[in-house]
Amino acid sequence: MQDSLLGAPLSRRKAIQIGVTAGAALFLRSGLPKLAYGRQRPPNILFILSDNQRWDFMGCAGHPFVRTPNMDRLASEGVLFSNAFVTTSLCSPSRASFLTGQYAHTHGVKNNTTPWNDGNITFLERLKANGYDTAFIGKWHMPGSLPDLRGVDLFVTFTIEKGQGRYFDCPLIVNGTERPSRKPYLTEELTDTALDFITKSRERPFCLYLSHKAVHHPWIPPSDLTGLYANERPRFPREFDPLVLLTRGHLFEGFNIGPPEELYRNYARVVTALDSQIGRVLDKLDELGLSEDTIVIFASDNGFFWGEHQLAGTGRWAYEESIRIPLIVRAPGRIQDPGRKASQMILNVDVAPTILEMVGLTPPESMEGKSFATILQSTNAPGREAWLYEYFSDFPYRVPTLHAVRTETHVYIEYEGRRKPELFDIASDPRQMKNLSETPEGKSLASMLKKLLEDLRRGEVSGSTGRLRGENRG
């Protein structure tokens, strides 16, 4: 007897079976967004976050030797944002901003010592409420005890070394219970856990937040990559000298004693190790036939200094090396002209509202970011004109609390304490070497940007759109 619905007689038993199955499916999907981009079923979401990865440490971003074929593949199949930034360049605040779509002054994780507020609502929670299977896998790294993260079916993380984890044999906490790592290398272990989640049979779409320790120090690559890039010679900025890593409090950044060139190569090796694990996830999506239905977003939590401005380590400052991040979105069938670079300024706080909009939900007012889905859909969609950057001092790192406004051409920075304001013309001075704030041409611009910064801090210029009013155009 044919077991097909087409062209075969339907028995009463079969009809009841089909009716029950269809009813169950309708029930299961009743909470799901009805339409997302004209499709019946909302897409899966895979958000991959690296740690301390500079925006330019990808082949597709023009790095002279680091090999990242899988990040490059994402860029060639999606959109690489060449002007993506974080609103606070520090691990914990930035991570909380990705999750909530809010600034640090709103979600409350102001630095690496202020705890996560359990009242915060993550985009995972919002997706769960709308019928998604959700998982948070990897680095949580926010102060305070681990939360009972609402809206997450699977919460796999680590707390060792203050939540930083370690590259080898890192014990994991799986839904509150500790278990040893199955694979020695953490990036591979987290990827295995992610693959387990992806391959699980399910009726609902999934959202996976995969948050890696890589490429945070101490940059220990897997054994098969220890010789990679051995013949490559890193090019440091001209203001760099080898002792920069040991002075100005940079020892707290975790630099090991050793030649800076080798530390830099290890950083690059860990990027490549991460890339190969991203490749495993992309391959699995292909194998399962899920690639077309899965939006993949890849980003990093903040930038990193390799000697620029005589600084070394995690971003914190409002300079370009710090605030820029890699950000790629691949969304088959949902973006115009895949493989392009988008130059509009987008922020980490924009990711959560973008995800919600792309699955057919309306981002709530409480999210301060703005969805950049329109930029994915149209190459000519406008971006924001200015935005607020903030950093709250993070003991014992000797960077004062600062606020800055970044426009498409300039950055104006104000510090708490004795340090004087800075103004840089990024268009003509991309390395930000010449502070214009005290120059005749800079003074008038600085006063306008100061006013704009005050407006942004007061919320009088929309933080989400960064649309300027009247003479405040920077």
Partner: protein, 187 residues
């Protein structure tokens, strides 16, 4: 052994390290102003190495100079500890623009500052043994090995272990941050 005047037995030995230290500090932190890249690199590396050596190893110079100029033990110790103390005060001043006064003072207890103190103490112990040995060879009736230098060297070894070997120094840093949280944030 003759006893020199206080400036000769205390100020001069300290100045032998302090003046080059200040000079190397000025050179290092201003070397980026040199327009020539290669020259900048060399000036930065040489002055930076002098700076770090002066901070960490200054007691190797100060202690024997003071010893052989007849400085009393307490004078030798104070002259040697002056360097890490000045470094500590400098660090506190450097961060006082970023943190409130109490937190800035706590910054002065950070593992890097402690490591400079520990190195200084340990090297004082070693220098005491060496100076006693040299004096004995010169005919002074001194015992070479005594307890206080031994304790100082033990402090150095423990300091090196906890600062550099134990978890590559990370656990000590986390303890320091925990202390900060307990004192200042109530977390």
């Amino acid at each position: 052994m003759n006893t020199s005047s206080l400036p000769a037995r205390f100020i001069v030995p300290l100045s032998f390290v302090l003046i080059p230290l200040v000079a190397s500090w000025l050179l290092y932190f201003n070397s980026w102003r040199i327009g020539h890249d290669v020259l900048h690199q060399w000036v930065a590396i040489i002055s930076g190495l002098f700076l770090i050596a002066g901070l960490c190893l200054g007691s190797i110079v100060i202690y024997p100079l003071a010893f052989f100029r007849g400085a009393r033990p307490v004078e030798r110790v104070i002259a040697c500890l002056a360097i890490p103390l000045i470094y500590c005060v400098y660090e506190i001043c450097a961060v006082s623009g970023s943190f409130p006064p109490a937190e800035s003072l706590y910054y002065g207890l950070n593992p890097t500052v402690w490591m400079v103190f520990v190195l200084t103490v340990g090297l004082m112990g070693v220098c005491e043994w060496v100076c006693r040995g040299v004096s004995r060879l010169r005919g002074a009736g001194l015992r070479v090995f005594t307890w206080f230098p031994l304790i100082a060297v033990a402090v150095l070894l423990l300091g090196v272990y906890f600062s550099l070997i134990w978890g590559n120094g990370a656990p000590l840093f986390y303890l320091y941050v925990d202390g900060y949280l307990a004192l200042f944030s109530g977390v």
